[in-house]
Symmetry: C2
Subunit: 158 residues, 2 copies
DNA sequence: CTTATTGAGGATGCTTTTATCTTGTTTCAG
DNA sequence: CTGAAACAAGATAAAAGCATCCTCAATAAG
């Protein structure tokens, strides 16, 4: 659904938001979010070009949040990395489907729509954990493991 | 959101559903759905192993639908190709987040949940076009072009 | 000014996904 | 039985995503 790089970006944005204005070096961010230091820099550069963070070079430098955590939505942040585009016209270029997508693409676009809505409904501030609840990642390097659910309706235990 | 291979799979399943029981060769399917013939076979094999289609070898053979178009959901079909997994436990393996995901992963899982719901709400039959409305793909090879929407609420013109 | 610190950005390599190629097996017609 | 039609499956190749490495530029301390 979203790329691993996009998840890294979200983790680092959360870490920066929790740092509350204080600059963090790429090394610190990488360690806190369990992202490799080299790759973290690359992602932070993309976030910088999108104006979500500001970088300060040299001694005492680092990265600081450059947006209001209550304003920046998950959708905004994810889309810095993943296009996550709505389907605007027939991907196959069929003229008769312009302005009126076929059932397949209309459905896929609708799915993208609900995904957009969901990701837009949450801000960076919503993802900040309280002081006692550390974010998922603080220097515990572990392999990524994810499992599958069969066919259960909705199931939002949150 | 979903891979191009998954979209190919959906296109071919629609073409098979519209063929109404009549077997279609991989060549015919590839042509109708604008997928390369070689790659189409690979995807059809995956759909066959998942029991959504049945293959008949030899002269006069081809692929036939092996499921009820009203029963097979988009979710079922897409997941033959893309895992599209819910997040069951902390992807970073943090013990304190097992059974209770952190805000980030809870949110990403919720987004995956609404995507599941949306894709599960539609069946293969829902994607079949009427006789006058040909599916998006009938031998018009054109590059895939998709565009982006800025920040517009919901926007389900469907 | 020199040096240490820190981000910027290009080059490179590894892995996964996407796509193609080649060989084999099944099936039917003649 | 032979040959053509058609799927099966492994090997290979090309492209995209993920990750690392190296050199350069900016900044601050001494």
């Amino acid at each position: 659904m979203i790329s691993t790089t996009a998840e890294y970006a979200l983790r680092m944005m959360i870490a920066l938001a929790e740092a509350d204005g204080q600059p963090l070096t790429s090394e610190q961010l990488a360690h806190r979010t369990d992202v490799s230091a080299d790759y973290a820099v690359k992602i932070l550069q993309q976030l910088g070009r999108a104006r979500f963070v500001r970088a300060q070079r040299g001694r005492g430098g680092g990265f600081r949040l450059a947006c209001d955590p209550h304003e920046a939505t998950l959708l905004d942040l994810v889309r810095v990395i993943d296009p996550l585009d709505r389907i605007m016209g027939c991907p196959l270029g069929r003229v008769e489907h312009e302005g009126r997508l076929c059932a397949l693409h209309a459905s896929l676009d609708r799915a993208m729509g609900v995904l957009h809505d969901e990701l837009r409904s949450l801000s960076l501030a919503d993802l900040m954990e309280g002081p006692g609840q550390p974010m998922c990642a603080n220097g515990t390097p572990t392999p990524l493991t994810v499992q599958s659910t069969a066919r259960n309706g909705s199931d939002r235990s949150n």
